[in-house]
Symmetry: C2
Amino acid sequence: MRTVTFLPGYRKIEVEPGTTILDAAQRAGLNINVVCGGQGKCGKCVVFIQSGKVEFDRQKYGRFFSEAELQKGACLACEASVQGDIHVVIPETTLIQEQKILVEGVENRIDFHPSVKKYYVELQPPSLADPSPDLSRLLWGIQKSGGPVAEKMYAPLEVLREIPGILRHSEWKVTGTIGLVPGGYRLLDLQENDTSSRVFGAAVDLGSTTVVVYLWNLVTGKVVSVASNYNKQISCGEDILARVNFARKNGLAKLQSLAAESINQALTTASNTAGIDREDIYEVVVAGNTVMTHMLLGIDPAYMIAEPYVPVVRRALSVAAGRIGITCNPNGGLFVFPAVSDFIGGDIISDILACGMNEREEISLLIDIGTNFEVVLGNREWMFSCAGAAGPALEGGEVIFGMRANPGAIEKLTIDPASLDPTYSTINGIRPRGICGSGLIDLLAELLAACVIDRTGRINTEISNPRIRKTAHFPEFVIAWADETEINKEIVITENDIKNLIMSKASVHAACVTLMKEAGVSRREISTIYFAGAFGNYLDKKNATTIGLIPEIDPGQIRNIGNGAVAGANIALINRRTRKTLDEIAYKIAYIELNAESAFMEEYTSSSFLPHTDLSLFPMVQKMLDECRIRKA
Amino acid sequence: MRTVTFLPGYRKIEVEPGTTILDAAQRAGLNINVVCGGQGKCGKCVVFIQSGKVEFDRQKYGRFFSEAELQKGACLACEASVQGDIHVVIPETTLIQEQKILVEGVENRIDFHPSVKKYYVELQPPSLADPSPDLSRLLWGIQKSGGPVAEKMYAPLEVLREIPGILRHSEWKVTGTIGLVPGGYRLLDLQENDTSSRVFGAAVDLGSTTVVVYLWNLVTGKVVSVASNYNKQISCGEDILARVNFARKNGLAKLQSLAAESINQALTTASNTAGIDREDIYEVVVAGNTVMTHMLLGIDPAYMIAEPYVPVVRRALSVAAGRIGITCNPNGGLFVFPAVSDFIGGDIISDILACGMNEREEISLLIDIGTNFEVVLGNREWMFSCAGAAGPALEGGEVIFGMRANPGAIEKLTIDPASLDPTYSTINGIRPRGICGSGLIDLLAELLAACVIDRTGRINTEISNPRIRKTAHFPEFVIAWADETEINKEIVITENDIKNLIMSKASVHAACVTLMKEAGVSRREISTIYFAGAFGNYLDKKNATTIGLIPEIDPGQIRNIGNGAVAGANIALINRRTRKTLDEIAYKIAYIELNAESAFMEEYTSSSFLPHTDLSLFPMVQKMLDECRIRKA
């Protein structure tokens, strides 16, 4: 065995010779950024060997490093293997950082009907006059204490075996935990003495990037803590496609256990924060996209990523949490949200439940934007849905200084129409490192309003301002000067970046319009537009309309539901009656395959302008642009 | 490792040095008789070492052997440990012999509604036009092929994970196995191609002595084979009390696994005989007494053997067969009969189902006699039950030449009233070794009819006949002379043996009368008396009445249902609708604790005569005795 010591922090781990530094780091609990899934392709997992022997092909991977870096012992964690006892420095930029995510939901309007309840009972010991069996005695006791009818409750073998010992050791004073499961009420647990105040449940948003856990006290109906962490699967690939390919090559087991571990880690954090025992968590409700939930359940997602895009299962599933490695109460249950298709997963069903559009007569439009986007249009009678690739532009990819919503990202921005000087705020308030999705939308809208760009996204280089520059490649606009930034470089946006952003926003807008045409609904008939996901939450609604990301409606009718996935999971956790609704929603939604719709391609072309070729669809934006132009002139 | 070769038969097995010969024999599949559970106490497990080295304490255990036997290398299999390669002779008397048991039932009158069915489907592969999920595609296919409604079927995780691979590898031609379970229809299995003709189920009588398995083809509704073997738990003690005490000392695990192994061995024999794969057995239905089913399920039976005699569970249970070590299809289910109390177990519920007394208006009396006896009185409206210790006399214990129904046991007997010479038949027709229960009842009735004994059981030693002798201890009657027997000794019955038999029969009769009094039913209101169990089947009905084992009714109204436990298990296996009936029966039956009833003790005293103190209750017997007496005089 060899000792690997990670710096800073001096975290140590023993590994077999030949282990990669990436594996060693993961086992030491350090989350290294491996966008390519550890294939030596992305060059993000840079580490520096301070001492000791490693094997690393400098010829093959030297291109990722400067000479100075190589001097300092740089190598790729995924390709360097441990040979002797080593000291490794992991730079901060190599570690995955905690993302700013949204943990506020809509749980206040929901009735409290949890599916798990504890009953404390003091039983009469058996006697010759009443020699009824232990199980009957217990279940009758629970029934008398307000529980379900004894005949409808059943005990699984593992609990049954514990009953006689616990009843007698506790002198017939016990607490039984009853869970509602398909087919009846299940005796999940039997504990000595009165533990009836200790019933907890967890609602989980299993995102491909982030896992969010809400921990609920299922007696009081209150949230006791919230925790989140990165989806550890990121070590097998940053996006879903990379992970499915990883599974295809290496089997599903690692991705399955990483998904479970990611949830477990958040559960541990939440439990520790609340000061509760994880054994007192009796139910875990998980909403996630279809690939994520397949992976969590250990079901092959491979057939979803190629034509004809077929999931194995779409209905809601209930399994024993322990079966898939979730460490809560050993008899705790796991409820997994249903899906509509490969692209419209449990996370979107959860969004729908959270915004309540499935209950109303009025028509709503729900938009969830990440690397992919999903759109749902409908009401309590009908729903249409579609999904597409937004391109990474809106998440900060394909834009030179784009970045995720990490510390230092510009998230809000205005531009002074006269001086063209931006005013911005960054995440965590530190000096800027780049610009994230919400900042980019502000930027586009502000550049348009200031007439720096035209409706095709072209930068007007005739404006005389130091921030507007021609370069060898593309014209660019300087958002922040080098001395303002954390990275000691100017942060700029190029005309090419803007083109990429317009393509992304055009996809979303065209998807909305395609569904509206399919349903025969005009923008005036839409009562509410819901944004789900962190992206929507930080979005300036007016600016989103200005650039034509969404159909123009009154900004007062645009709502952010935040993390709808976890909000819906919360609802399903605390009100078991809503679970039936989930499968109903899933079966009600029609899925429109955009690639098969010529209407989508036409609308995409029309949408590739700011806000659109047809300004009459955006009367408010038209009015604003007219005013700006007059002011400028 | 050392090689142990067992003779005759030359069965070989490799064991670690130090292994007992008993363990080696059990692993080699040889069932050695260990009444004491292998504690070196009973001296029944005699074997002879032909060659090779063993360790054995001749000082301590020499008392069990004659000098001649020690010369031949006699030792106790449970105490002798293997040191070198050895050859061991196991005499026939040391092996547990196959008991004559009853495997004929009442299955012909039962409708065929098995709970497991296979559906072969040829599915359309998914396409962009129909990208529905694998599970839906499969379940809709099964529904279209006549299966249950797709929404009511569900797939457990282990099968779900297999679905995508099997569907594609088989080119969408698969056979799904659907089982009815609490809460819906479960997809138990998915196989490539058409295997729909291969669905089997097993009905099991788990007796404390014997395990009987009926293997059914659940497509054709026919029995394909029957197998039985000893309950291997006998190595932990011959009777239930000894086994519960063994569990108390050593834990339940060994008894649990021996119960499962006993069933597995019979399943293997039955499967091999029928030429089927055990993986094609999808359901196992088990009827057994309450202690046996608790042990099989790994549930502590300890609280049943002492006041207040409390089982852990009495309701019917369904568990995954694999969970308790039953090797059938990995997703196969195990259904365990419910019980009424510690003494009235699933075997008795099974008897009731088999005789159908629970369906009729007329009142029936059901009697199951072994070491213990159980009696049930009632009809479709009500039932009373009780149980007691018959004493081992009726099974051949507590009677000097009594024996179980093994080869050489006298099972039928008449006595010539003039010469007093018996005419008898033995099991397997060999020369007699002893006399079993049915023979003893004949003997008692014939001795009474021949006036050899009086109604108190006393032998009339004034009769001058070489078969009637006074001895130092008790007067005795010679059943067979030494030269007629296999054991080269006279087979006799003593007055003390007769007393023990009368005590046993008095218990049974008093139990019947106690229930009748409780229910306010006279013997004339009883339409049928059912005998369940092997004992009843070989019983002469008239003689059973003559000695007052049962209330006197017309012998034409006495029926033998044979092995009612397996008959009822067969019914529950092939007609799932009867399973609901079982819990109904179990809840309907009132259990009368005989020890708490003064009426029982009084009636026991009155019953301790042949047939009873009050001859007016036995008018036919009275008539017969009068005739005999007249003839004699």
